[in-house]
């Protein structure tokens, strides 16, 4: 536990759910240590970590490595949510149930804020978790589908670079597409 000296609070937090799993399986599964871009240490069960294609290929190149895996593009907050998703996912690997999986996935995104989703996407993308990326992109699409242009700009943090004349022209040209839009 080399990390405890550096960041005792966080390690305690992470170790707690890990011990739960350990008692469930009655055997201590192999853990992999990962370090996020904001220097936080996560200890993740190997089966969960192997859901991250990026991490998996790291161990394929160096199978016996016990080093901490650096994740330079991954901040801790969205990463912990990504771990939450992957823990759920591996249950369905042993026991495939498409209906239950869909329900679980929609439950997962339902609880997340817009900000959570937008933060998790680059993480899922970097770690190459295809299923999660698909779920997240669909969730974002569902959330913006009936929304206004202004809502979408603030959702993605996009600056409007049209002049007011250009925007007015576009809106006029496609006036029908601006009907029956949900209120922000």
């Amino acid at each position: 536990m080399s990390s405890s000296a550096e960041n005792p609070t966080l390690t305690a937090e992470i170790t707690k759910p890990s011990t739960e799993i350990a008692t469930e399986t009655a055997q201590s599964a192999k853990k992999i240590t990962l370090k996020t871009s904001d220097d936080q240490i996560f200890e993740v069960e190997e089966s969960v970590a192997m859901e991250f294609a990026t991490v998996k290929s790291f161990f394929e190149d160096a199978p016996s490595s016990t080093d901490t895996v650096p994740l330079p593009n991954v901040p801790a907050k969205p990463f912990s949510q990504v771990i939450e998703f992957c823990k759920e996912q591996i249950k369905f690997k042993a026991n495939p149930d498409e209906t239950e999986k869909k329900r679980s996935n929609s439950e997962f995104v339902k609880e997340k804020t817009n900000e959570d989703l937008v933060e998790m996407i680059p993480v899922a993308n970097y770690l190459e978790i295809k299923d999660l990326l698909d779920v997240l992109n669909q969730a974002v699409a569902d959330r913006i589908q009936n929304r206004s242009v202004e809502y979408v700009r603030s959702f993605f943090g996009i600056d409007n670079d049209f002049t007011s004349e250009e925007e007015a022209l576009l809106r006029e040209e496609h006036a029908w597409a601006f009907e029956d839009v949900d209120e922000d």
Partner: protein, 408 residues
Amino acid sequence: MKVSCHSLFICSSYCKRSRTNQAGAGAMPEKIPKLPSEIISDILSRLPVKSLVRFKCVSKTWCSLISHPGFAKEHLKRAKEDTNANHYKIFLSADPHLSIDPEAFFDADENLLTAQLNFPASYSDRNSRIEILGSCNGLVCGLSHRNPLIYIWNPSTRESRELAIPSSRELAIPGSSEDSAFYGFGYDVKLDDYKIVRGYISTSTNSETKVEVLTLKGNKWRTIQDLRCGVLLRGRGTSASGILHWLVLRQENARSIKYVMVSFDLSEENFLETVPLPGPTGDDNIWNLELEVLGDWLCLYCYRGGLFCEAWIMKGYSREVSWTRILRFNIGEPIPGGKFWLRLLWVKKNGNVVCELNGRDVVFYNQNEGTARAFMIYHEMGWFDATVYMKVLFPLIISMMACDQAYN
């Protein structure tokens, strides 16, 4: 690679954006992470056409992305793969022009939910009659007798474009000087373009069928090799997997006539060997045989002896062709008048069938219960035409002032 052109296109502008963003990152602690362009493209490809048209206003980058033909292709691909939602609608050329969602109707529904379609007024004839020449993916190709004029229309984006008419103007009208004119509209995968094929009997030559082709990008009619297959093609061809199909009756001998299918390969621009049709299609009891597209499949349906309707799906081509019967039901009962003129438009996910009856009604037929619901569609002319289209983004007008500025 097709994809690389697309991603390069977005990339150049995206990189510019992310650089400016990084510079300001320190100043704005609550900043939202900028998503990579391929992620934005993936998210947008899941949206319906109406949202996309609206979101052209979000920024110049989004406008260019949504207007790009590469993105339209991605959008179409996803729509075809997505089995959860229905991306198909039925277009009814009625008074006014309507669209219906074939999956949205349930047996208990009192009314048929229709949406009025915004058809360009200048293309309408007197009595707002329009001739559908063909439908492929999201595009409907039509002909207006009045001017005459040939146009392409995307009912989902409401965009339309007038196309060149053939040099011999009067020949553009089927049913006038030559009854035997035929048309077809479909997609050429190799060329990545849509094509209109038209044929007519030239009175000046030995009644060989002259054939002309027009591509959407080129917008010029070009004569290709004459059709020599010993049959007269008429009406509109049905397009599936880059091939147009017509059904024709051929005199086999003094006592029997038989249906054959003539196919035209849109990439190779040649007519193919005739494909054997399923079932006893030479049967004297056959009332009618029609072609339609169900999803991506070519579907043949026939009314046998005025009693049964059968639908067959075609897979493979020429010698490897195989037909699978997907449905068979009684049409004398319970659809009154069903034995006169019934055209299959759609087979619903639950197995129920949507038909056009005598050009007057849209009929929903419940196969399990054997019950039918008919809805009359008003048209001053007394009848309507119908075709299935996909809700897609295909851009007909590429240049847009506001968007162009972002990339010039």
